[in-house]
């Protein structure tokens, strides 16, 4: 007795271990192949379907289990003697009835496998470029990380690439119970019978919530009950799984309570760690705005449904639903495309892909190397027209750090605080050539904002008087760029009523140059907050339109496409900001913008002082761009404002102290440190599906030994081929005629196999073509920077002073 119990216990343990066994990718694919050939067993769903549609007049007692018996050629088991209609039944008749079962199983198995193979073809490409970190490759999440290491703060403003704001956040509680509930719910959707599994509802549920349960709810309303299928073959593309939604909602509710430090910016995406369910090869992705499901490896698609029983369908329309089986040959209305910005384009990295957004650049021509033609599908759309940006105009030198602000903290004012009124007590510290005094009030005339010339003590008055108070922050950012442009210039008193900055500004091209930079910073801030997305324009068009508006109207600075109205764009922006101020989190009055300044305003103010002045504090985010900016600006300030060759102090910067200064010996290290690689243009490679389709057509004709024909179906089976070229004997002729369809079938099969592999390669090719050249250029840049640092480290300083006069040793 004891031994029996032990055996029973061992069997139970074995059974539980078996149920907990995770099916690997290979095991699933092996199962596909076994199902496809259905030598001994059919899929559970096919088995039930065949039983429902099998003509009862042949075998009235036909059961589900008879399907497998038919595949195993057990005719005697199927044609039961107990069957009153068919007793006695001769063996030939029974074999025919059995053959019909095998044919029905074969046809369904083959169809299902074609659908799965199509999915596999897509998977080969998509699996490696998944959205959420944790997959086999994580190219998509690495690229933004690399950009973040490189990007200087002013690069972000002056060369905007509309980078997504993504934040990683850990859970603050144990989430396992919530995740386990989801896994349990999904497991419950897998039905088992006779050692087989029916995964239809499970597969449908995972695909249904791949873009998040909240997106489904927003688009289709709440899930009040398990609204299963509508009884058509596409039913599981529209079905809802309320219990799964509830479990996902529980996770979403939990993460809403997690405090965010620092506070979230508008449109900032928060990613939480994914949870992988190894046993079912599914993971849950969690964002602050949504929670959804996805496959670790996408193997199975939603195959047209075969079952419209009450357990699966809330309706049984006839046709196509008959005897709880969904018959083929009916074509339900296709699922409409998702609205713009939803579906694939709602995911954090995919939304920046070129299927989901126009290319953000002011010049958007078809690259010469791309050779895209009219019949290509252009994955790269251009929202911005082909415009030429105004030149950047600086007073002296390149001003490497640009305008826009890159330092988070500097010395600050020596005395006083900037308030919305005129502050007479402000005094700059010794690091600054200027300081800003902001005034909320009339700027004279109808002007909404104005930056006045620098005064003798360095004071630059910024006046803000926006018609829409919620625009104050953006206007402030704009005027601070003008303050930065003016900051290191001589004050007005040196030359009477004007200074060099005003001289530049008063020229038409000077106005465009100075205003464009300021509007670029302003529009970048609005783009970052999502204002421009709401209005439907990009950063460059915004900056161009507003620059035109400020410098004479029309297309005075940038040629806008016909029909584009700068006034209208400006009005749309003002209206949008006014209507969404609370949502954007911007100041709603000028006083608030000055008293509680935005982080970008603070950064712009902190970036006004000199960089390299002794005893001046500077704090900035450590990125390659910011560090390079620090070094470059130090060098620039040294050359522009100081004398590095020993001598007397001249009257103006870099003036000659002695006549022989110009004869000084050549710097022996000149050009030794670095040879920069040329800047390479990186055109996105064209994707030509029409061409590929045509090549596949040609391939079909080539397989049949025929020239290209249109349509290519003409290259398929042609009974006249053998009739025109008869064989010697009639028997061979008939055999050849009979075999022609199977020849065609084998060619079709071969084409189908090849197509997926070719498709996979073509898809990857587009990706690698771009990345390989981009990475190559990037590698060269890193190599150059590495050489520069190495050479700086190994610089040998001469022991003797450089000769001041080369001709007179």
């Amino acid at each position: 007795m004891k031994s029996r119990l032990a055996i029973a216990g061992a069997l139970l343990l074995l059974a539980s271990a078996q149920s907990a066994h995770a099916e690997t990718v290979y095991e699933r694919l092996l199962q596909f192949s076994q199902d496809e050939y259905a030598l001994e067993k059919s899929e559970l769903i096919v088995e039930k379907f065949v039983k429902k549609i099998y003509p009862k007049k042949y075998l009235p007692d036909f059961q589900d289990s008879d399907v497998d018996l038919a595949l195993q050629e057990q005719s005697a088991e199927i044609c039961r003697p107990s069957d009153p209609e068919n007793n006695p039944m001769d063996q030939d008749e029974c074999a025919k009835y059995r053959e019909l079962v095998v044919t029905l199983v074969d046809k369904n198995s083959q169809f299902r496998q074609v659908a799965r193979d199509l999915q596999l073809a897509a998977t080969t490409y998509e699996m490696s470029i998944d959205n959420y970190p944790g997959g086999v490759t994580s190219i998509l999440s690495k690229l933004p990380s690399i950009i973040k290491i490189w990007q200087g703060d002013t690069d972000l403003v002056q060369s905007p690439i509309a980078e997504i704001k993504v934040r990683g956040q850990a859970y603050d509680t144990n989430m396992d119970p919530l995740f386990n509930a989801v896994e349990s719910e999904l497991n419950g959707l897998i039905e088992s019978a006779n050692g087989k599994k029916d995964r239809e509802r499970f597969i449908a549920a995972v695909w249904r919530y791949r873009h998040g349960y909240r997106q489904v709810r927003n688009l289709e309303g709440g899930c009040t009950n398990d609204k299963l299928g509508d009884g058509t073959e596409l039913q599981f593309l529209r079905a809802r799984f309320c219990a799964v939604e509830q479990k996902l909602e529980a996770i979403w509710n939990q993460v809403q309570g997690i405090p965010m430090d620092p506070p979230l910016k508008p449109n900032e995406i928060v990613l939480f760690p994914i949870k992988i369910f190894e046993d079912i090869q599914v993971y849950v992705w969690v964002r602050l705005d949504d929670v959804g499901l996805m496959w670790t490896v996408q193997l199975e698609p939603v195959i047209p449904s075969l079952d419209c029983s009450g357990a699966r369908s809330f309706a049984q329309p006839n046709p196509p639903c008959r005897d709880e089986a969904i018959l083929g040959g009916t074509y339900p209305a296709p699922i409409p495309d998702p609205p713009e910005g939803t579906g694939l384009c709602s995911h954090p990295f995919a939304k920046r892909g070129y299927l989901c957004r126009p290319r953000d650049t002011i010049e958007c021509m078809v690259e010469p190397g791309s050779a895209a033609t009219g019949e290509d599908i252009h994955l790269i759309g251009c929202k911005a027209p082909n415009m030429e940006a105004p030149y950047r105009w600086t007073e002296a030198g390149p001003n490497i750090c640009n305008e826009g602000g890159w330092r988070v903290k500097t010395q600050g004012l020596k005395q006083g605080t900037d308030t919305p009124a005129i502050d007479t007590d402000l005094a700059p510290d010794w690091c600054s050539n200027c300081y800003v005094d902001t005034l909320c009030g009339s700027c004279g005339g109808s002007q909404e904002g104005q930056t006045k010339p620098k005064e003798a003590d360095g004071r630059i008055q910024i006046c803000l008087n926006p018609t829409e108070p919620a625009m104050s922050t953006y206007l402030y950012i704009h005027e601070l760029v003008h303050a930065a442009q003016n900051c290191d210039s001589p004050s007005i008193d040196l030359r009477g009523s004007t200074n060099l900055f005003i001289d530049i500004y008063l020229q038409p091209e000077g106005c465009c140059a100075t205003e464009y930079q300021a509007y670029l910073a302003q529009c970048d801030a609005m783009g970052e907050d999502g204002v421009l997305e709401g209005v439907g324009i990009d950063i460059q068009t915004c900056a161009a339109a507003m620059t035109n508006f400020s410098c004479g109207g029309g297309s005075s600075c940038v040629q806008l496409p016909p029909g584009t109205s700068s006034n209208q764009i400006l009005q749309d922006i003002v209206d949008y900001v006014g209507a969404h101020a609370a949502e954007l989190g911007v100041a709603t009055s000028c006083a608030q913008a000055v008293n509680s300044p935005d982080a970008r305003v603070l950064k712009a103010k902190s970036s006004l002082p000199q960089v390299c002045t002794p005893k001046c504090e500077t704090k900035y985010a450590s990125t390659i761009g910011n560090n390079a900016c620090m070094v470059g600006q130090c060098v620039e300030e040294s050359f522009e404002r100081h004398r590095l060759i020993p001598g007397r102090m001249p009257l103006v910067t870099q003036d000659e102290a002695f006549p022989w200064d110009s004869d000084s010996d050549e710097d022996p290290n000149f050009g030794e440190f670095l040879l920069m690689p040329p800047a390479l243009s990186m055109p996105l490679p064209p994707y030509r599906p029409a061409l590929l389709a045509r090549q596949m057509d040609n391939f079909l004709c080539q397989l049949n030994g025929l020239p290209t024909k249109v349509p290519p179906i003409l290259c398929s089976f042609d009974p006249r081929r053998r009739l025109r070229l008869p064989t010697k004997g009639f028997l061979e002729l008939f055999e050849s005629l009979i075999n022609q369809p199977s020849e065609q079938e084998s060619l079709r099969h071969m084409g189908e196999r090849v197509a997926s592999a070719v498709g996979s390669r073509v898809g990857t090719q587009v990706y690698t073509e771009y990345l390989s050249s981009a990475l190559h250029a990037f590698e060269e840049l890193i190599q150059a920077a590495s050489d520069l640092l190495t050479n700086l480290e190994s610089t040998e300083f001469p022991e003797e002073m450089c000769r001041r006069n080369a001709d007179n040793p």
Partner: protein, 264 residues
Amino acid sequence: MPPPWMFFGKKSMCAATVATLLICAAWASGTHRSFAAPPAGKPYPILAPCTRYDDRYASLFFKTEKFDDWPDVYHERVGEVIEEYLEPPETIQCYDQILIPLGPTSALGQLASELAPWQDPADRAKLDRNDVGIVLLEFLRMYECALVDHNYYLPMDVITERFEEEAGGTTPLPTVIEDFTFDALLKEMGRRRKIITEEVVTSRAALQRVLMVISGVTRLSPIDAELECLQRASLDLRNGLGLAADASVCMPRAWDTKDSLRDL
């Protein structure tokens, strides 16, 4: 004295012999080497033998396991290699020629070492992580060979196994097994043929599908690895430039330099 035609005939024979020797020499020199012969210095031929009776396959499962276990062992090993491949690589050697080296205990390396083309350590050393396709296809080929081989010798194999089983590892083998009838032999052969047929039909299809699925990883994982290295290099560069930025604040020491004689 022999007739003249006989001399002529001898000459012809000599010429034929020389020609044959030349052909043999050319053959031996390797210019027309059989693909079934091992290349110079290699222990295996270009076309490895398609049989399970070759000594090179002594460690493969169809030499050590019972036939009924073959499918499980084969699919388990393929699955193991695929799962290993789909795991994100943990070690990336950015300074090496091969960015993602094959670990010493890797399933792929272990499997390859049992197959003829990688039994030479020098060849195995060249094995790359992305060679997963060719190793698995060679493994499949050997599996198919073993199945076909077994099918070909099925009656003898079944009888031999049955007698060895009856003997329980002892010798000599029994001469007669009472309950092992001809009918039992046919039944066992039929059962095995079904397994062989199913395995031959489905194994290749399954492997082709899985290789197709991982092909995207095969093509993109080198780029992924390079990006990882670029990320690391970028961090190094950022830190280096950070130090340079620190050093740049010393520039004011060189500003407005004056020498003692020209100090205004």
